[in-house]
Every structure is written in structure tokens, then in C-alpha cells.
């Protein structure tokens, strides 16, 4: 398959046969690193999901024994709240949407043989594995794991006596630091690779949108994480050597942390959202058999949204005690961000117009993302309006909102990408019927779980309370907590067809052809799965953009990026 001694290859050290360790563990191959990120992300998804189910049980039937866990006290409940959020954002969403898809797709879609810095890439995933280990260990140290919320607001997080958690919270900070280091290394790699290693003909405006979204997300992460790292160092110093960065009695200010955290935290939301949007944007044209609607406008909208995300952070702090005159400016910038995202969502819908829509499993997930994200986007306007937020902040309405945005990104966006690229990643086809059952069950029970949370939030139920029955005004609404919990249990059960499908496919699935979906982008010109260095001796050459579907005057309804046309009859 690969010609030995080809001149283009000798910048990378490579051997035809690599041992087990070099292939599966200490691999510098971007595809294996992507799969390693995927595996770690899926492992944490199981952990984070189980924590959520323990929480939901406690909320529906407070102070009864959770099957397989026992009774949940208030201390444990705070640990569950904290670790569920931390795990889902930093150890599931980022490794899967950025780590796995970014690593797998960027070189393959731009025509590179690997990342620009393959060893740095390996270091990235290993530092992330170390971060995972540290986070896992933090559950088992005396005092238990962190319990100050995933946002870790000081002074609660800054002094041991306020929570009783000592090393659990220190390790929580350390795990974050390692995780950030991992994604900084990954981010440097993503940007360098996409800028320097594009194949001839692959101009920036011919890049698939998922690459644009990955690059924008990476840039947001690189630009926003610095202040949080500074903040985290100060938090650690407050905890360990008793400085007063966040302690009012020593001249510090607890709100400083919130500014630093959310200056990072809001861009971080888009670090997760944009790659998911990118996955959906790349799935849609393939199954609508049409170009994406307004390619360049989508890129501009993405960059605009990314830019705006740096000046909206204080919408998390409307009632925090900051100067209330700041609220309306931040409210305006926040609601303005609906403009670029409205553009992107409308463009997704317009892509369907006059299409020839194939409802294969990846497309169902992409369409599910659109429908669910519209709900999450619209409810964001409630939170973004400062006066409405006086009532809504810190209630379950916020919880419902961000699960409609983040859950739809990670699960609907993530599965759209997973079902779409699975044949390329593993060289096998998945079962379509099982994939469709998985989609419909997930869609139904996602809504049963999370939609009612809007209602109980409007009724005034606060986030992070362990027992709603302690409040008289919430007692009549308790049935909603029961519905949401039953929905969550069924949502978990809905993942069984997925597990069966993947295991069955890997063991006995049909071998995938090179290009099972008749898609245009470069990764489909490589074998499934691609060998190390992705292509044989010659790399593909790019002649056009990524979405040339159903061109007039052509028999086929697709035109791959690398196909040279001798003479265009146009």
C-alpha cells in the first residue's frame, strides 16, 4: 500500500510494522491518539452519567437508599453535583469533541500525514490520562472529592473548614491544570497543523467547516485559559499557604475568581459547542446532497460568535454582587450573540431546502441536534436578560437550558460525528436499524428528562439542593422530579443499542468501503481505516471546496475535493 522510501515521507520516522505498545499505547499516530481521547472520554461519560443518576434518584426520592450506592447525605450530594459538572465539561465534552474528532479529522481532512508535532500530540493525550488519574484518585483521598460546585467559587473552595474537603479539592485543581496543559499542547498542534500542513489546493476557504470550528474553538481556548490558570494558582495558594487572594478579611475579593472563571468559562462553552456545530455542518450537506448554505457567512458568524464570547462573561454574575450598572451592557452583548448563532442555525435549515434528504443514522443525530439546540438557544435569552435572570438564575431553568445546549452538543452532535466517521475510524459499518433505535429512544427520553426541568425551575427550584422536599413551595411540584428521574433512567437504558451496535460491528460488522456515504472531503479518499501516514506515496490534491453536491450538468450528485476535471462543461 505504501511505497517505501517515498521522498515525502522521510520527515517522519516510521516503520512498516510497529509493536503493540507503539501502535496502541505510545502511539504518535493522530488517529490512534484520537481514539485514545475517545476511549478516555467515553470512560468518563460512564462515570459522570452514573453520578448524575445517583443525584436524580436523591432528588426524586430524597433520603432513600440508591440501588447499588446507598443513602446519599448532603456532603456526598455536593460531591456528586461538583464532580458531575467537572467530568462532563472537562473530561467528556472536551476529549470527545475536541480531542477525539480534532485529532482524527484535522490531518485527514486537510491532507496531512499526521499532526505537525506528533510527539507533542502523544504527550498531550498522556498528560490528559494523568489528569484523569488525578481526578479519579481525588474520590478516594480522606475527606472525599471536591464539593464546592464545578465553578468552585471561593471562599467555599478556598478554605478547608467550609467544606471539610482538603486534598480532594487540591487534586481537583491539579487535575484541571493537567487537563489544560493537555489541551494547550493539542491546541498548538491543531493550529500549526491546519496552517502549515494543508495539501496543495486546500486553501482556507476550501477547508471543511468542522475544521474551521475546531480551529475557532482551539483559538478561544488558547486565548481564554490563561486568566483561569492564574486564578487557579491563586486559589491553590489560598488553600495551601493561606494567602488572601479571595479572602475578604485579608483584603482579597471573592468576586475576582468569578470574573476569571467566567472570562474563561463562557468561551469554554463555545469550545464545546463549536466542534459539535462543525460535526453537524459537515454531516448535513452529505445527507441533503446539497452545498452547505452560505459557507463563508458561516465562517464569519463563527468568528463573530467567538469574538463576542469574550465580552459576555458577566452574564453569569448578574446577581453576584458586582456593580449592578454592569448588568445591562453585558445583557446586550449576551443577547447579541444570538445573531451569529441564529445565522448558523438558519443556514443549517436552509441547507435542507430543495435537498434530497437521506435519513441515515448520522443525519438523524444531526437533525436532532438542530431541533434540541434551538430549544437551548431560545431559553438562553431568558438567562441573558438581566431582569429575567434575577428570578431565573441559580434555578433549574438554567440547568435545563445548559443541558439543552451542552447535552445536545456532546450527545446529538457527538453521535452525528461518531456514526458518520465510525466506518473511517474502525473500518467497519454500524447497523443502521440499531443506530436508529438508539437515536429515537435517546431523543424521547432526553426530552422527558430535561424538558420538565424548565417548569420546575420556573416554579423556583434552586440548583444544587439535595432535598427539594425541605421547601414547602416545592412539595406540590415533586412529581416533576420523579418524571425527570424516570426519564434519566430510561435515557441511560437507551444507550444499550449503541453499546450492542459498536461491539457487534467491531467483532462482526461488514467491512467499510472507502467512501460509504458518497462524501466529498479528503478523509474519504484514504482507506478505511487509514494506515499510518494516511495515504500511499502520493497525497491527494485539492481542486475545490468541500460541499460540491448536486452540481448541475453532472451525472453524479457529488464531486470529491480531489477529483480533477479535465474540462468543465459549463
Amino acid at each position: 500500500m505504501r511505497e517505501s522510501g517515498a521522498g515525502t515521507l522521510d520527515t517522519h520516522e516510521h516503520h512498516a510494522e510497529r509493536g503493540f505498545w507503539r501502535t496502541y499505547v505510545f502511539s504518535t499516530d493522530h488517529k490512534m491518539i484520537g481514539k485514545q481521547y475517545l476511549s478516555l472520554g467515553l470512560f468518563w461519560a460512564v462515570v459522570g452519567g452514573l453520578l448524575a443518576h445517583v443525584m436524580r434518584w436523591q432528588l426524586a426520592w430524597p433520603d432513600t437508599a440508591v440501588p447499588g450506592w446507598g443513602e446519599v447525605g448532603p456532603e456526598t450530594y455536593n460531591v456528586l453535583v461538583t464532580m458531575h459538572g467537572t467530568i462532563m465539561v472537562f473530561f467528556v465534552a472536551m476529549p470527545i469533541l475536541l480531542g477525539a474528532f480534532g485529532n482524527f479529522l484535522i490531518p485527514l481532512m486537510i491532507g496531512a500525514r499526521d499532526m505537525a508535532f506528533p510527539r507533542l500530540n502523544m504527550l498531550s493525550v498522556w498528560v490528559f490520562a494523568l489528569a484523569s488519574l488525578v481526578l479519579l484518585v481525588s474520590f478516594f483521598v480522606p475527606g472525599g472529592a471536591a464539593s464546592a460546585g464545578w465553578t468552585g467559587y471561593p471562599p467555599l473552595s478556598a478554605k478547608v473548614e467550609y467544606t471539610g474537603v482538603n486534598w480532594g479539592l487540591n487534586l481537583w485543581i491539579l487535575a484541571h491544570a493537567l487537563e489544560f496543559a493537555a489541551f494547550l499542547m493539542g491546541g498548538v498542534n491543531y493550529l500549526t497543523t491546519a496552517i502549515a500542513l494543508r495539501v496543495p489546493g486546500m486553501t482556507f476557504f476550501r477547508l471543511p467547516l468542522v475544521i474551521w470550528q475546531q480551529l475557532t474553538a482551539t483559538t478561544l481556548f488558547l486565548l481564554s485559559v490563561g486568566p483561569l490558570i492564574a486564578g487557579a494558582v491563586m486559589l491553590l495558594l489560598d488553600r495551601i499557604i493561606g494567602t488572601h487572594f479571595y479572602a475578604a478579611e485579608g483584603g482579597g475579593d471573592p468576586l475576582l475568581w468569578q470574573h476569571l472563571f467566567w472570562f474563561f468559562g463562557h468561551p469554554e462553552v463555545y469550545v464545546i459547542l463549536l466542534p459539535a456545530v462543525g460535526l453537524v455542518l459537515d454531516v448535513l450537506p452529505v445527507f441533503a446532497r446539497k452545498p452547505i448554505f452560505g459557507y463563508r457567512w458561516i465562517i464569519y458568524s463563527t468568528i463573530a460568535a467567538g469574538g463576542l464570547s469574550f465580552i459576555v462573561w458577566a452574564h453569569h454574575m448578574f446577581v453576584s454582587g458586582m456593580d449592578p450598572r454592569l448588568a445591562m451592557p453585558f445583557s446586550i452583548t449576551t443577547i447579541l450573540i444570538s445573531v451569529p448563532f441564529a445565522y448558523i442555525m438558519f443556514a443549517m435549515i436552509a441547507t435542507l431546502y430543495k435537498g434530497s434528504i437521506r435519513f441515515d443514522t448520522p443525519m438523524l443525530w444531526a437533525l436532532g441536534f438542530i431541533a434540541m439546540f434551538i430549544v437551548g438557544g431560545l431559553t438562553g435569552i431568558f438567562n441573558g436578560s438581566a431582569p429575567a435572570d434575577i428570578y431565573i438564575s441559580d434555578t433549574y431553568f438554567v440547568v435545563a437550558h445548559f443541558h439543552y445546549t451542552l447535552f445536545s452538543s456532546v450527545v446529538f452532535g457527538g453521535f452525528a460525528g461518531f456514526y458518520f466517521w465510525f466506518p473511517k475510524m474502525f473500518g467497519r459499518l454500524l447497523s443502521e436499524p440499531l443506530g436508529k433505535i438508539h437515536f429515537w429512544l435517546t431523543l424521547v427520553f432526553f426530552n422527558v428528562t430535561f424538558f420538565p426541568l424548565h417548569n420546575i425551575g420556573l416554579a423556583g427550584m434552586m440548583r444544587r439542593i439535595a432535598n427539594p422536599l425541605e421547601y414547602e413551595y416545592l412539595v406540590p411540584h415533586q412529581w416533576i422530579n420523579v418524571v425527570a428521574t424516570v426519564g434519566a433512567i430510561l435515557l441511560l437504558a437507551s444507550q444499550i443499542p449503541f453499546v450492542v451496535n459498536v461491539v457487534w460491528s467491531l467483532l462482526a460488522g461488514k467491512t467499510a468501503p472507502k467512501n460509504p456515504w458518497e462524501a466529498n472531503t479528503l478523509e474519504w479518499t484514504a482507506p478505511s481505516p487509514p494506515p499510518p501516514l494516511n495515504w500511499g506515496a502520493t497525497l491527494p490534491v485539492v481542486y475545490r471546496g468541500a460541499y460540491e453536491y448536486s452540481l448541475p450538468d453532472m451525472a453524479e450528485d457529488w464531486l470529491p475535493q480531489d477529483r480533477a476535471l479535465a474540462a468543465r462543461s459549463r
Binding site: V81, G321, S331, I335, S338, I357, A386, I390, A466, S550
Partner: protein, 226 residues
């Protein structure tokens, strides 16, 4: 399930109705967009499903005339955004950045996991002999603006009254002013809305809104000795 405005608890403050009106405006605007976008979305999915013998039409959406199909709705979104901001601005200003003249100031100090409610007493001054502290009980007269000064002894708490549409985080090291005016006598819950430790769940006070006569009676009882 979809009629969200019905889920708000009864409003008993002078400004609560205005906050509810902003929520209602956003609710109806977003509900209309929800049905409109998902309606178009669903229509396209059915109308343009794959059928034999029909090809997709090549529309890149790059030219301004095509892009206008969605730039116009985006412009509508922008106008609605500004409408929501314009309606919201004065409400926010009234609740959070202005303070009506009041006769009654009460200091609320939060600590893990109780509310200490301090009244200045008949002399109207804090730090004097006739101050009285009540744990987890806030008594106010109906129809009078009440000024609160919010303090914390340890971590961040948040004083929340669902019925008053009142919420304000309390930050250690600061004395944060706030106000409300209740419109209906009754007994209402005042939970803490910010995670503050293992006792966060269940940390709450009771708000007693009295008629003017009853409030005077309560004051007379509490300060009978002084």
C-alpha cells in the same frame, strides 16, 4: 407543560409584575420562534425527503440574494433582541440600581447555614442597645419599601424569595444594599440559592409580611422592654 407563565409562583412584590412581564415577553417571542423555525425545519424534512428521480438543487447560498433569505430573519432576531433589552433595562434599573426612600432598614447576615436578621430598633440605628436579632425570621409590613443590607460571615450565599422575585448573592467583605416592597400579607420561604456547603439544602428563613396593624403589634411586642 408549554404554558410556562403559569408555573411562576404568586407574585407579591411591587416590581415582581414587571420582572414577570419581561419573562412573558421573552417567552412569547421565543415560543413564536420555536414554532416558526421547527415548523419550517419539519416542512423541509418532509417536502425534500429523498425520492426517486428527483435531484437536489445546487444552491450555495453565497450570493447576497440567496443569503438574504436568512439575513432577513437574522435582522428580525436583532430587532427582537433590542426590544427585549429595551424593555428589560428600566426594570433592572428599578430593582437593582435605584433605592426608594425607606423608613425601615434591616441587616441580613448569612452564615453557614442560617440567616441572622438584625433590626435597628426604634432609634433606627444599628450598633445601639435596642438592636434585636432574629434567626431565620424576617418580619416586614405590607405596602412599605424595605431596605436590606446583606452581609456574609463566611462564604457566598444568595437570598432568594421566589414570591418577591428577589434574588441577591451575598459576598463576604461587602455590604450589599437591596430593597423590596411586599404587596400581600402572608408567610413565604426565603431559601439560600448559592451552594454554600453541606447545609446548603434546607438553609432558609421565613418572610412574614404583616398588615400595618399586625406589624405594629409585632414591633410593640419585640421592643416592649425598651
Amino acid at each position: 407543560m408549554l404554558n410556562w407563565m403559569r408555573w411562576l409562583p404568586e407574585n407579591v412584590s411591587t416590581y415582581g409584575g414587571e420582572i414577570d412581564a419581561v419573562i412573558a415577553l421573552i417567552y412569547y417571542v421565543t415560543l413564536a420562534w420555536f414554532f416558526l423555525t421547527l415548523g419550517v425545519f419539519g416542512f423541509f424534512l418532509i417536502r425534500y425527503r429523498r425520492r426517486d428521480g428527483r435531484r437536489a438543487t445546487y444552491v450555495a447560498g453565497e450570493r447576497l440574494r440567496e443569503a438574504a433569505w436568512i439575513l432577513v430573519p437574522v435582522a428580525v432576531v436583532l430587532v427582537l433582541d433590542f426590544w427585549i433589552d429595551l424593555r428589560g433595562g428600566p426594570v433592572w434599573a428599578k430593582v437593582k440600581t435605584t433605592m426608594p426612600p425607606t423608613e425601615l432598614t434591616i441587616q441580613v447576615t448569612a452564615k453557614q447555614f442560617n440567616w441572622e436578621i438584625l433590626y435597628p430598633g426604634p432609634d433606627g440605628k444599628f450598633g445601639t442597645e435596642d438592636d434585636r436579632q432574629f434567626d431565620n425570621e424576617l418580619h416586614v409590613p405590607v405596602g412599605k419599601p424595605v431596605r436590606l443590607v446583606l452581609k456574609s460571615k463566611d462564604v457566598i450565599h444568595s437570598l432568594f424569595s421566589p414570591n418577591l422575585r428577589f434574588k441577591q448573592d451575598i459576598v463576604p467583605g461587602r455590604a450589599i444594599p437591596a430593597w423590596f416592597e411586599a404587596t400581600k400579607p402572608g408567610k413565604y420561604e426565603l431559601p439560600c440559592a448559592e451552594l454554600c456547603g453541606f447545609g446548603h439544602s434546607g438553609m432558609k428563613a421565613w418572610l412574614y409580611v404583616h398588615s400595618p396593624e399586625e406589624y405594629q403589634k409585632w414591633v410593640n411586642e419585640q421592643w416592649a422592654s425598651s
